[in-house]
Symmetry: C2
Subunit: 125 residues, 2 copies
Amino acid sequence: MNTEEVATKLVDLCRKGEWMKAVDDLYAKDIVSVEAREMENMPAEMHGIDQVRGKTEWWEKNMEVHNVKVGGPFVARDTFVVQFDIDVTEKASKKRMQMSEVGIYTVKDGKVAREEFLPLAQKKE
Amino acid sequence: MNTEEVATKLVDLCRKGEWMKAVDDLYAKDIVSVEAREMENMPAEMHGIDQVRGKTEWWEKNMEVHNVKVGGPFVARDTFVVQFDIDVTEKASKKRMQMSEVGIYTVKDGKVAREEFLPLAQKKE
């Protein structure tokens, strides 16, 4: 698959909430996944598909997703960008949050080789 | 300026349509600017602030901008992403277009050192 085909499939699966299927079908074994910051006991940067599956399991176990709006994909060369607007409740704290972020994905040999997430900057007064 | 400060200033200037001021104030002398494809006589990849000023002049001379919606910035580490939805008429052909793209910007020493633009993928039937 070329970059646009991988991007389109990833967006389709995310719109259906099939996060783990996206990882299983589209991610390289040696995927590097970079969050803006570390979360709980997880480092910001993860290596390998098993760590990324672990993060996806943690997300599905700990978060109740009310709605996801997926924008894009924006595609050029080996790179694509997807925007996520997520309305979610953290199950433990029952805290409901609206998160907005983009993912920058790099495709190599028809698989996602790197993903990097960037949150929307907070507006200053 | 850190990445978020550069990002916020760039978004503010783009919202005001002050494209050239954004280049003058925020871009490194050795900026690398990458479009998804070449345009007219301009290569996809340009090097140095003079080439980028030339591209900006070409844009301002040839395009009548009706409306620009600027989304973001999305910021992490040395990188930020901005979404542009532009309603524009090409003056020569009088063709009106709605363009949607993101820019991925890399900040080094308080200046934009690289920008890369990715258009929204066309929906397949």
